[in-house]
Structure formats: structure tokens, C-alpha cells
């Protein structure tokens, strides 16, 4: 798999029922494969991170980014969609 298609989705906000379900449903509907997923509570906030692969999806990165932001607004959490390299660069020598 090309590394360029690896994207980090991060979700931060007030915990509520169905956040993971909502995000995963969107990903599955758009053929976006989840490679890794972790979730915790940080400083009282629901915090989730997913590493996903966009290479099987018909949608462009910007479109996925826009739609996920919209979903975040609907359920009251902040959803970010970023290329993985920025984290690799910053945290790996």
C-alpha cells in the first residue's frame, strides 16, 4: 500500500453514544479501510485516533476531509483528517 494514502483521523470532544459507530459507518460506506484505531479519555475529553487507507476509496482526500468535518459538527465533536507524514516527521527521527 502506498504510504501517501495513509491518513490520520482524530476525533476530540464530549463523549456521547455512537461517535465511533458514526465515523466507522461513513468510512465503510466509502471503502476506506481502517488500519489502526485507539481511543482514550484525555483531560476529560473523548479522544480517538484512526489510521486509515484512502487508496480504495473513490473520494478525494479533500472530500473525505470536508464530509468528516461535517459529521463532527453534527455530533458535536471536532474531527480532523490529516496526512500521516506530519506526525511521522515530528515524532520519528
Amino acid at each position: 500500500m502506498s504510504k501517501a494514502n495513509r491518513t490520520i483521523i482524530s476525533v476530540v470532544g464530549k463523549d456521547t453514544v455512537g461517535i465511533i459507530a458514526r465515523v466507522c459507518t461513513y468510512l465503510s460506506n466509502n471503502q476506506i479501510n481502517v488500519l489502526d484505531i485507539s481511543q482514550t479519555i484525555l483531560s476529560g475529553f473523548f479522544t480517538m485516533m484512526m489510521i486509515v487507507d484512502l487508496s480504495g476509496s473513490d473520494k478525494a482526500f479533500e472530500e473525505v476531509q470536508k464530509e468528516l468535518t461535517q459529521i463532527g459538527e453534527e455530533i458535536g465533536v471536532d474531527i480532523k483528517c490529516q496526512r500521516e507524514e506530519i506526525f511521522e516527521m515530528m515524532h520519528r527521527v
Binding site: S10, V12, D36, L42, R83, I86, E88, M90, H91, V93
Partner: protein, 454 residues
């Protein structure tokens, strides 16, 4: 694989600590635009800039989105215009025409500053150099985006005191010419010693003669991130303090390296350098003075400031150098007074004086930067301040610069507002004893000896 805490740390740096990439600057050579006909020259310049930098803003925005990292400025630097106009320009008006062409080109591609309305006169001035310098007040008054710089000295050549004297007068005239706009012209005019060819930061950026046809240079930022990291090691030893700054500088610089690499690939223009800088903004928490306070000073300017700044600057370089494949430009912590809330407060409270700022410039990048002084300060006194700062650069083999704004009609205790990233500045007092007989001597200060160091 990246973990959730690392993702969280990076995103917090951006959301809460003002981490950003300060600028992507395309350096563009204008040598192939030269012509003896001024109309043709201006056409060539406009065409070249708008072609090479056509996609700069678009690509910058794409990168911002994909990585969720703000890229505050997209800018252009060009070959020093004194050279480019040397054959075509017969008077100062011809040079102003080039300035207006540069302004139009900057507007067309959507950048917020274009640097390189410059002359390199460290040893002597050609007729065209002098024409360009004399055109600066009108050029600054009739353009919005053009930045100007003049290099008046270097370690190899000494200081061109004729140019230093002239620049005192030019800074005064530029203030007069732009007095209805907060004397803004002088906020876009820098006097240098040992100016680098690859500086991406304004107002001093120009595309030096040693550079390729076009190049991408990136300036990073992040004082807020360093401050936050240091909050966690309050009271710890110098070893821990320095390690923390280094690690943070590494992370900040890596983002710059990524952005530079991406911009270079997408624009098809080679990557030049990363400028390892802590560049403050007037935003709360984005202050280099704030870091100095966190290190342990009550206010920037207190005894210990020069040592703390020296330490900070050195650790930023040590951390940043490994994070980037090529380092250049000014590289260091910036201390512009008007652009740093902590510096503004320190100056207002009397903790920070012009003399202390001069001492601080011995150990950091870059010089007396964005300092407002009384509008009635004489041209000789301004030249005296420039000469002092140039001497520090010449002797210590470092880049130094002066960006002073004599605010016409205002005196000590008053304030001037520039707006945006340029911020606002309290008018600082200047030593009132004269230096006219020194400044009015003709010629240059010889190059220094590099042995017998003291």
C-alpha cells in the same frame, strides 16, 4: 506506528500554542529579465514573477489543508533590484517604476510581501545602487507589498559609512513619505550587515546572486510551543532546560522541512533552506519575550536577558539543524519589538531599552528590529545606531540588521499601530548625545582582523 498521544500533541501545538509555518518564500532570479529599455524590463519582470510564482498561494493552501498546519505567509524574494535596473534606470523615477511593477506582480499572484528592492553596497556604491537607495522613500510610499533592504557592511569588506550616512537620511525621508500611514515605509526597510542570500523572512528577504534560478525557502516559527514545553520544567537545571528547548525546536523544524519538501515537489522548484527561527507574533502566547520570562526573568531586558537569549538561540539551532537537510537564512530567535507582546510590555514598563536590545542582538538573530523611535530623531543619530549595529555584525561574523521607525509627530511614551503581523510599538527613547562629526566623515571602516580575538 504513530500513537494517539503524538497526534494529540501535534494538534495541540497548532490549536493552542500557535504553531505555524511562518512563510514559504520563493526566491526568483531576475537576471534573465534585464534590458536597457525600462518598459521591456518591467514587462519581463512581471511575466517572470507571475509565471514562476503562479501556483504558490494555491499550493500553500493545499498543504495547509492536508496537514492542518497554518502557513501564515506566502512570499517572494527577487534578485536585488539595484542590479536588475542598472542598465535601464536613468533616474530614481525609473526605479520606482520597477517597484510598482513588483507590487503589481505581488498582487497578481496573491502574496503578502515581495522582498528584493535592494542594494548590496558593503564596500562601495555604484551609480545605480545609489539611485535605487535614493528612490526608496518614494518606492515605499507608492507600493503596498514591496520590501526593501540595503546591505551596508560585511566581515570581509568592512562598513561602507557613506551608505550608513545615506541610510540615516533615507529612513527619515521614508518616514516622512509614509507619515499618513504610521510611517509604514520604514517597517518595510532593513539595513543589513552580512545579509544572507537565502533569507525567507521579510522585510529583509532578497534572492542573492549566489542562488539558482528559483528556489523554495521556508521560515518556521513556534515561540508558543517552546514556552509551553518550558512551563513543564520550571525550576529544573540548565541541562533539562536546554534539552527541552532542543527537542521542541526539532519538532517545530520538522514541520517546516515537510512543508518545504512538499511545496518544492508540487511547484517543481528546488528546495533551498529552512530558516530555523523562533518568529513571534503579537498574538498572546506567541512571544519570544514570553520564553525569556519562562526561563526565569521577570521581564525581557532584566539582567540575565542576554545570557538567556544566547542559550535559547543556541539550543534552537542545535535542535533544528538535525531536523532539516539544509539550514540557512537568518536562523535564530527574532526579537522584533512591535511584533512581540512581551517585548512591547517590557519596553513600556522600562525593562527593555534600546541599549539592552543592542546587547541582545550580539547573541541572536537578527538585530534592532521593528523599534519605534521619536520622529524628531536626527538622521545622524539614526546612522549612528546603524553603524553600531553593523559593527557588531562585522566583528562577530554574524548577520545584523536595523529596522527603525522614526514616527513623525510622535514622542516617547506614545504608541504607533502598524496592524496585522507588524503589530504596534511604544516609542522608545534614544540617547540624545550627538554623533554628527563621526557620521559625517567620508569613506568606510576597514575590514576587521580575524586574529587576536577579544
Amino acid at each position: 506506528m504513530i500513537n494517539i498521544f503524538e497526534v494529540n500533541e501535534t494538534n495541540k501545538m497548532v490549536e493552542e500554542q500557535n504553531l505555524d509555518v511562518r512563510t514559504i518564500t520563493i526566491g526568483i532570479s531576475l537576471f534573465d529579465c534585464m534590458d536597457s529599455d525600462i518598459d521591456k524590463l518591467c514587462d519581463n519582470i512581471y511575466r517572470k514573477i507571475t509565471t514562476v510564482a503562479a501556483d504558490l498561494v494555491k499550493v500553500g493552501k493545499e498543504i495547509e489543508k492536508e496537514y492542518s498546519i497554518p502557513i501564515v505567509n506566502k512570499r517572494i524574494s527577487v534578485t536585488p533590484i539595484a542590479m536588475i535596473g542598472s542598465s535601464a534606470c536613468k533616474d530614481t523615477g525609473d526605479y520606482v517604476r520597477i517597484a510598482k511593477t513588483l507590487d503589481d506582480a505581488a498582487k497578481a499572484v496573491g502574496v503578502n510581501f515581495l522582498g528584493g528592492y535592494s542594494a548590496i553596497v558593503s564596500k562601495g556604491m555604484t551609480k545605480s545602487d545609489e539611485l535605487l537607495i535614493r528612490s526608496i522613500p518614494e518606492a515605499m510610499a507608492s507600493t503596498e507589498y514591496v520590501c526593501s533592504s540595503v546591505n551596508v557592511g560585511s566581515t570581509k569588506t568592512g562598513i561602507n559609512m557613506d551608505a550608513v550616512r545615506l541610510m540615516g537620511q533615507i529612513i527619515k525621508s521614508t518616514a516622512e513619505a509614509t507619515k499618513d500611514n504610521s510611517c509604514m515605509g520604514d517597517a518595510k526597510l532593513v539595513v543589513f550587515c552580512n545579509a544572507p542570500d537565502d533569507n525567507p523572512f521579510m522585510a529583509g528577504a532578497f534572492h542573492g546572486v549566489s542562488e539558482a534560478d528559483a528556489i523554495i525557502n521556508v521560515g518556521v516559527s513556534g515561540p508558543g510551543v517552546v514556552k509551553r514545553a518550558l512551563e513543564k520544567v520550571r525550576g529544573e537545571s540548565f541541562e533539562i532546560l536546554c534539552e527541552t528547548i532542543k527537542k521542541t525546536a526539532f519538532k517545530i523544524t520538522r514541520v517546516g522541512q515537510l512543508v518545504a519538501k512538499e511545496a518544492s515537489e508540487r511547484l517543481g522548484i528546488p528546495f533551498g533552506i529552512i530558516d530555523l527561527s523562533l518568529a513571534p507574533t503579537p498574538a498572546i502566547g506567541d512571544s519570544v519575550a514570553g520564553i525569556l520570562e519562562e526561563i526565569g526573568l521577570e521581564r525581557a531586558g532584566a539582567p540575565g536577558t542576554t545570557a538567556a537569549l544566547a542559550l535559547l538561540n543556541d539550543q534552537v539551532k542545535k535542535g533544528g539543524i538535525m531536523a532539516s537537510s539544509y539550514v540557512g537564512g537568518l536562523s535564530g530567535a527574532f526579537i522584533p519589538v512591535s511584533e512581540d507582546q512581551g517585548m512591547i510590555d517590557a519596553a513600556k514598563e522600562g525593562a527593555l531599552t534600546l541599549e539592552k536590545l543592542e546587547a541582545m542582538t550580539c547573541v541572536c538573530s537578527v538585530g534592532l528590529d521593528m523599534i519605534a523611535i521619536p520622529g524628531d530623531t536626527s538622521a545622524e543619530t539614526i546612522s549612528g545606531i546603524i553603524a553600531d549595529e553593523m559593527a557588531i555584525g562585522m566583528i562577530n561574523q554574524k548577520t545584523t540588521a536595523v529596522r527603525l521607525i522614526p514616527v513623525i509627530g510622535k514622542g516617547v511614551g506614545e504608541e504607533v499601530e502598524f496592524g496585522g503581523l507588524l503589530g504596534r510599538a511604544p516609542i522608545m527613547p534614544v540617547n540624545s548625545f550627538g554623533c554628527g562629526d563621526f557620521i559625517n566623515r567620508a569613506g568606510r571602516i576597514p575590514a576587521p582582523v580575524h586574529s587576536f580575538k577579544n
